[in-house]
C-alpha cells in the first residue's frame, strides 16, 4: 500500500515549551486518519507543520516519499481546511473555489468547469455567484472543503472544521464528510477533540496527549483495547476503580480495592502482585441486577444517587465504596429497569473480561 504521508520523529518546541514531542506515524493512500486529543495537546501544531506553516524543530515530514523540509505551504501538495474555514469574504463562492486554480494559471473555462463539478460533488450545484456571508454554516463548510478538494491535494488536512456547527448539523456533516472522503479517495488527516467525530469517520485514530501519541489504532480497538489509562479515560465514558494487584496467574489477576472488594480480571497484560493498578469499566459493560448463576462476574452493591435521563443514552450515577468517584452505568430504556429509583440499593456486576486494567507507574 502506498504511503501518502509519513511523519518521522517530529518534535516542535517553542522556547522551553514542547508542543509536539517525538511523534511518528504513517497514513496510507486514501485513508481517513484522525488525531484526537484535548485542546492544547499539540495537535494543531502538528497539523500546521504538515501544512508548512511551522517548521519542525526535529524530525522530518514526507509526502509521497518527498521530504517537505524548507518547502513553503504554497508549494506543498497538501491543503488545509481551517478551524474557522477562512473563506474569503470579499469573493463569491466561485472565486473562492477557483482561487487556488487561478494561482496555477489554469484557463478560465477550465476553472469554471472544475468549480461547477466540485460544487456538484459537495451538493451545492449552482452556488457559484453566491456571496460567502449569504451561506449557512453547513454550506460554508462544504465550500471550504470544495475549495481545497478542487486542487486535488495528496493529503487534505482538516483542523476541527465541524467545531463551529450546531449539534444536529455536526452529526449530519460527519456522515457527509466520511461519504465524500470515500468517493473522492483523497487522504484525509483530521484533527479534533470530539471523540465521536474521530470514531465515526476514521480508518485510524491517533490519540494525542501532551505532545505525544498515546495510541494509534482503529476506532474499535481504541475503544475496546485502550493502550493507556489516558486513552481509556479520553475515548468514551469509563469508570475508574483504583486498587492493588493481589494475585496474578495465567491471564487472570485479582485487584483489591481500598474498601476491600476483590475484583477478578481476565487480561493478557502482565500484572505483578503488589503493584497499584486502575481498572476501567465501560458504562455499557455493567449488568444491572445480574442473575445469581452467572459465572466469573464481579459484583458490587451500590446506592443509586441519580438518574440522568437522555433518551437512549440514559445513565445511572451510583455510589460505591470501591471508588471515590461516582460510577456511571448505562440504563437500557426497555422498561425492564423502570422500578429503579434514586436512593435504591442495587447490585451491579460485570464480566471479568469486560474491564481494562493498567498498572500504575
Amino acid at each position: 500500500m502506498e504511503v501518502d504521508l509519513s511523519v518521522k520523529s517530529v518534535s516542535k518546541r517553542f522556547k522551553s515549551f514542547v508542543a509536539v514531542d517525538d511523534v511518528s506515524f504513517e497514513v496510507e493512500k486514501g485513508k481517513f486518519f484522525s488525531i484526537l486529543g484535548p485542546s492544547g495537546c499539540g495537535k494543531t501544531t502538528l497539523l500546521r507543520m504538515i501544512a508548512g506553516f511551522e517548521e519542525p524543530s526535529k524530525g522530518a515530514i514526507y509526502i509521497r516519499a518527498q521530504n517537505m523540509a524548507n518547502i513553503s505551504p504554497n508549494r506543498r501538495p497538501v491543503n488545509l481546511i481551517f478551524q474557522h474555514l477562512a473563506l474569503f469574504p470579499m469573493m463569491n463562492v466561485a472565486d473562492n473555489i477557483g482561487f487556488g486554480l487561478a494561482r496555477r494559471n489554469e484557463s478560465k473555462t477550465e476553472i469554471r468547469k472544475k468549480v461547477s463539478d466540485i460544487l456538484e460533488r459537495v451538493n451545492l450545484p449552482g452556488f457559484e455567484a453566491k456571496k460567502i456571508h449569504h451561506l449557512s454554516g453547513g454550506q460554508k463548510q462544504r465550500v471550504a472543503i470544495a475549495r481545497s478538494l478542487v486542487l486535488d491535494p495528496t493529503v487534505l488536512l482538516l483542523d476541527e472544521p465541524l467545531g463551529a456547527l450546531d449539534l444536529k448539523l455536526r452529526e449530519q456533516m460527519k456522515i457527509e464528510l466520511k461519504k465524500l472522503q470515500m468517493e473522492v479517495g483523497t487522504t484525509f488527516v483530521y484533527i479534533t477533540h470530539d471523540q465521536s467525530e474521530a470514531l465515526v469517520m476514521s480508518d485510524h485514530v491517533a490519540v494525542m496527549n501532551e505532545g505525544r501519541f498515546e495510541q494509534i489504532d482503529s476506532p474499535q480497538n481504541l475503544y475496546t483495547k485502550p493502550a493507556s489509562p489516558f486513552v481509556a479515560r479520553f475515548v468514551g465514558d469509563n469508570n475508574r476503580l483504583p486498587g492493588k494487584i493481589v494475585g496474578c496467574n495465567d491471564g487472570t489477576a485479582e485487584l483489591q480495592t481500598a474498601s476491600g472488594e476483590k475484583l477478578l480480571i481476565r487480561t493478557d497484560r502482565q500484572l505483578t502482585p503488589g503493584v497499584q493498578a486502575e481498572l476501567y469499566i465501560r458504562p455499557e459493560s455493567v449488568i444491572l441486577e445480574p442473575a445469581q448463576e452467572l459465572p466469573e462476574l464481579n459484583r458490587l452493591n451500590v446506592l443509586v444517587s441519580s438518574i440522568l435521563f437522555d433518551g437512549a443514552n440514559t445513565q445511572l450515577l451510583v455510589e460505591s465504596p470501591a471508588s471515590d468517584d461516582e460510577l456511571l452505568i448505562s440504563l437500557p430504556q426497555n422498561r425492564q429497569y423502570e422500578h429503579i429509583s434514586v436512593k435504591d440499593r442495587i447490585e451491579i456486576g460485570w464480566d471479568a473480561r469486560a474491564g481494562n486494567c493498567f498498572p500504575l507507574p
Binding site: F53, R75, L80, A86, P89, G100, R103, S148
Partner: protein, 289 residues
C-alpha cells in the same frame, strides 16, 4: 443615544446638544451661507453690489487659476497615493508582524509627532533641509557635496512635507481594518498556492478597501486644503490653490472672488472624492463609519 432619548425626556439631550448645535450653526453654517451669497455678488461700474456669476467665470477665464487648481488636485492625488503606499506596509507591520506587546508602542511612535503643531513640525523639516541646514552641513562635512544645495522650495520637498503631515490620518484607519483581517485568510491564500504579491493584491487590499478609502478621503482633503506646508516648504514656485484663495481675501481684498474660489475648491474636491468612490466601488456611508 436614541434609546436613552426614548426612555427619558428628550429635554436633557437638547440641553447638552445646544452648545454644539449653536457652534455648528453660528460658526460653520451661517458663515458658509454668507460666503456663498458673497461669491455671487460683484461691484458694477457704479460701485453698487449686484448679483453675477462672473466671480466663477473668472476662474475659467484666467488660466493661472484653473491651472493652479489642476496642479493642486493632481499633487493632492499624488500625495494621497504616496501616503497610501507608505502607510499600508506600516499598518501591516504593526498589526500582523510586530510582536503584540510592541503594537501599542509603535502606534504611539506614529502619534508622537502630532503632539506638536503642524507649524513646528514643518519648521523642523526646514531646519533639516534648508541650504544652511543640518543635512547639507553633514553632506558637505563628509565630502559628498562640494557646496550646500537648496533642498527646500520645490515640489518634491512640498510633497514630502504633505505626506509626512497626513500619514497618521491614513495609518489609523488602516490599522483598524488590518486588525480585523483574520490571519487565517492570509494563511489560507498561502496554502492555496498564492505568493506574497497575490496575497496583497487579492486578500489584503480588498479587505482593507474601506480603510483605504476613508484614509484617502481624509488625506486628500487635508492636502488639498493645506495652506501651511505648500507655502513654507514649496516656496514661491509651488503654487497651491489655497494660496490663491488667501491672496484674494488678504492681498487683493476681493472677498467675493475669494469666496467663489473657496466654493469651487469645495465642489471640485467633493467631485473628485465622488469619482474616487465610484472607481473603487465603495459607499460613502460605509467608508466614514
Amino acid at each position: 443615544m436614541s434609546t436613552l432619548g426614548k426612555a427619558t425626556s428628550k429635554l436633557p439631550l437638547f440641553i447638552f446638544l445646544t452648545p454644539i448645535l449653536l457652534w455648528l450653526f453660528l460658526l460653520i453654517v451661517l458663515p458658509h451661507i454668507d460666503l456663498l451669497r458673497m461669491s455671487f455678488r460683484i461691484e458694477n461700474d457704479y460701485g453698487d453690489m449686484v448679483w453675477s456669476v462672473s466671480n466663477y467665470l473668472e476662474f475659467f477665464r484666467e488660466p493661472i487659476y484653473w491651472l493652479t487648481f489642476t496642479r493642486t488636485a493632481l499633487y493632492a492625488i499624488i500625495v494621497t497615493f504616496l501616503t497610501l503606499c507608505i502607510s499600508l506596509p506600516v499598518a501591516f507591520y504593526i498589526t500582523k508582524v510586530a510582536p503584540p506587546k510592541f503594537r501599542g508602542f509603535l502606534s504611539l511612535l506614529l502619534l508622537m509627532p502630532f503632539w506638536v503643531s503642524e507649524l513646528v513640525r514643518i519648521y523642523g523639516w526646514m531646519i533639516l533641509l534648508r541650504e544652511s541646514g543640518v543635512i547639507n552641513h553633514f553632506l558637505v562635512e563628509w565630502g559628498i557635496l562640494q557646496q550646500p544645495v537648496e533642498m527646500l522650495y520645490n515640489d518634491v520637498a512640498m510633497t514630502m512635507g504633505l505626506v509626512y503631515t497626513s500619514m497618521l490620518f491614513m495609518v489609523v484607519p488602516l490599522l483598524s481594518v488590518m486588525d480585523s483581517l483574520d490571519d487565517s485568510l492570509i494563511e489560507a491564500a498561502f496554502d492555496l498556492g498564492s505568493n506574497m504579491f497575490t496575497i496583497v493584491w487579492k486578500i489584503i487590499i480588498p479587505h482593507a478597501m474601506p480603510g483605504i478609502a476613508s484614509g484617502s478621503i481624509v488625506v486628500f482633503m487635508l492636502s488639498l486644503g493645506n495652506y501651511l506646508t505648500p507655502n513654507l516648504m514649496g516656496g514661491k514656485n509651488a503654487l497651491w490653490f489655497t494660496e490663491q484663495i488667501y491672496n484674494q481675501f488678504i492681498a487683493s481684498f476681493n472677498w467675493n472672488q475669494g469666496s467663489a474660489f473657496g466654493f469651487l475648491l469645495l465642489v471640485l474636491s467633493s467631485l473628485i472624492i465622488f469619482i474616487g468612490l465610484r472607481l473603487t466601488n465603495q459607499k460613502l456611508s460605509k467608508v466614514v463609519q
